[in-house]
């Protein structure tokens, strides 16, 4: 009995040690591709990277975050093979090349029972800064508004604040949520809540019967279609950035990231694939 236990334990230990040291044997032949930049794109780039690695043996894709600006400056300085920027390049960055892999859009959502059908940009700003506190002030029920905001660091928060010209310190939230699902559940459970989530998630959940509605912005309906044709105002491109015309591994990766083979990965992150 004791002997068998000893054998079992030593097998386990040997297995663990092998797992720890054994798999790194052919390090020398490995080619590395470094991507840095936007934390919005990083999770997507990491997923695409995994699939890319599975197709190209001896390639390792290393994804690091640090914001769109770091992505641009690293690509320019050659510190990264590819930069990631969740915005279009600015005028003084036009020496670089950008490749849009996906689009990101967010939609303001209300509970289905809320009679309000549309809000102007200024009304949304006033609601989020606490100047409008009752739905009555924007033509709805006489009920206090529950403002749902996103946690710091989330790309949806960044895009929302940027679009409405707000600072997060000015926002007066009643609820702060992490992911899109939590946001939808919160609005479903509270008829007086207002929140915002990725257009892709909101549209999918609404089609599955969740009691939410997507508010149009500036007269344009919030839909994946309108994000794809770039008419929806609350959206942005997710770009890969390079210093010069990409060659070799970087070229292969950018082509792969722009191909329909990764559409499922893009949709899994609630982004919208660009029309090819």
């Amino acid at each position: 009995m004791k002997k068998w236990a000893m054998i079992a334990v030593s097998t386990l230990i040997a297995w663990a040690v092998w797992g720890f040291f054994g798999t790194k044997s052919d390090e020398s032949e490995i080619e590395k591709l470094v991507l840095t930049g936007s934390s919005t794109i990083a999770p997507l780039a990491a997923e695409i990277g995994k699939r890319f690695e599975s197709l190209h043996r001896n390639v390792r894709v290393d994804v690091q975050t640090g914001g769109s600006s770091r992505g641009v400056s690293d690509a320019r300085a050659g510190l990264a093979d590819i930069g990631m920027a969740s915005r279009a390049l600015k005028d003084d960055e036009k020496d670089l090349l950008q490749f849009t892999v996906a689009l990101d859009g967010i939609s303001v959502i209300l509970n289905k029972a809320n009679p309000v059908e549309a809000l102007s940009k200024q009304q949304i700003i006033d609601i989020y800064t606490g100047k409008i506190t009752s739905w009555k002030q924007v033509g709805g029920n006489d009920a206090p508004i529950t403002v749902v905001n996103k946690a710091e660091g989330r790309s949806t928060l960044e895009l929302f604040l940027h679009h409405f010209g707000l600072k997060n310190t000015e926002v007066k939230p009643h609820v702060i949520i992490g992911d899109n699902q939590q946001g939808i559940k919160t609005v479903v459970g509270n008829p007086d809540a207002i929140g915002y989530v990725s257009v892709g998630t909101a549209e999918y959940e609404a089609s599955q019967g969740a009691a939410i509605k997507l508010l149009p912005l500036e007269g344009i309906a919030a839909s994946v279609e309108n994000v794809r044709n770039r008419s929806f105002p609350l959206s942005r491109p997710l770009n890969l950035v390079t210093r010069s015309e990409p060659v070799g591994l970087a070229k292969d990766f950018i082509e792969f990231a722009g191909s329909p083979q990764v559409n499922d990965l893009i949709e899994a992150q609630y982004f919208v694939p660009v029309p090819r």
Partner: protein, 284 residues
């Protein structure tokens, strides 16, 4: 007295294990310090309690609202779960017929096995809208306390039950021989005899409540503010880390490790206080 060879081997093994656990705790502390160093180096400690708000992206690092949220939610849950847990254990030990007691215990064990995210999900979908009807927004300190109570109730109930089961049968027979009523036996003999086990159960439950993350994250609202009423939305330290860690970089990330450090300090203080309070009485 000299130890036999087997004893010495066992002693070495036990010493090794004890040393390992202690080293792991120290390593965790060192790791937290190292990860939070980028912020601690630049930001004076005082700013974590004097800044205007918690907006780490804008360089504001106020932690105290989250400290008090953690404290209030844990305290509230322990206050609710302790009497309920003790009552549940007393019921199953002394009042319920044997078959019912067995069934009841299995049910409580099942309750202990439900993952916290499931409690949180139920709280978000069912409990929060109910409380929201009383007072919007529904996700609040109160909802958090109720969910935590549900989560730690089985811990209290099961440890108290085990402590009551360990009361020597002679005590019970002695009480019966003295003609004590059933309630007299419970309040005068069984509960006092099981006291240290009950206290251990409460401390265990408090530990779980402090560290609980997902359940509270889903129902407490997560706004960083000092709660003025039970219906205010609050964010606990653990929820803070879980909410922001995935997308945090640089100093923001380091600031989250500072909240981890604060949580560890808080647990140390709580355990230390409990130790001081119950030290003399534990070995009577």
């Amino acid at each position: 007295m000299s130890l036999s060879r087997a004893d010495r081997q066992l002693l070495a093994l036990l010493r090794g294990c004890a040393l390992l656990s202690a080293v792991i705790v120290l390593l965790i502390l060192l790791f937290l310090l190292r990860e939070s160093w980028p912020v601690l180096r630049q930001v004076p400690l005082l700013r974590f309690v004097t800044d205007a708000s918690w907006h780490p992206v804008d360089g504001l690092y106020q932690l105290t609202p989250m400290l008090s949220a953690t404290l209030y939610s844990t305290l509230g849950a322990v206050l609710l779960a302790t009497p309920l847990g003790i009552a549940s254990a007393v019921f199953s030990r002394y009042y319920a017929p044997p078959f019912l007691a067995g069934l009841y215990r299995r049910l409580i064990e099942l309750l202990a096995g439900i993952p916290s995210v499931v409690y949180g999900f139920w709280g978000l979908i069912t409990l929060a809208p109910l409380i929201g009807r009383l007072h919007p927004p529904g996700v609040s300190l109160l909802t958090g306390i109720l969910i935590l109570t549900l989560m730690i109730l089985p811990t209290v109930a099961l440890t108290v039950d085990a402590a009551l089961a360990a009361v020597p049968i002679a005590y019970v027979r002695g009480a019966a021989a003295l003609g004590l009523s059933r309630w007299g036996l419970i309040s005068g003999v069984a509960l006092p005899a099981a006291r240290s086990g009950i206290i251990a159960g409460i401390i265990l439950a408090a530990g779980r409540a402090i560290g609980e993350t997902m359940g509270v994250l889903m129902v407490a609202g997560n706004v960083v503010q000092q709660p003025l009423s039970l219906f205010d939305s609050v964010r606990t330290l653990t929820a803070n880390i879980a909410l922001e860690m995935a997308y945090a970089t640089g100093e923001h990330r380091a600031a989250l490790f500072v909240s981890g450090l604060a949580l560890m300090l808080m647990v140390l203080v709580l355990v230390g206080t409990a130790e001081l309070l119950f030290r003399e009485r534990r070995y009577d």
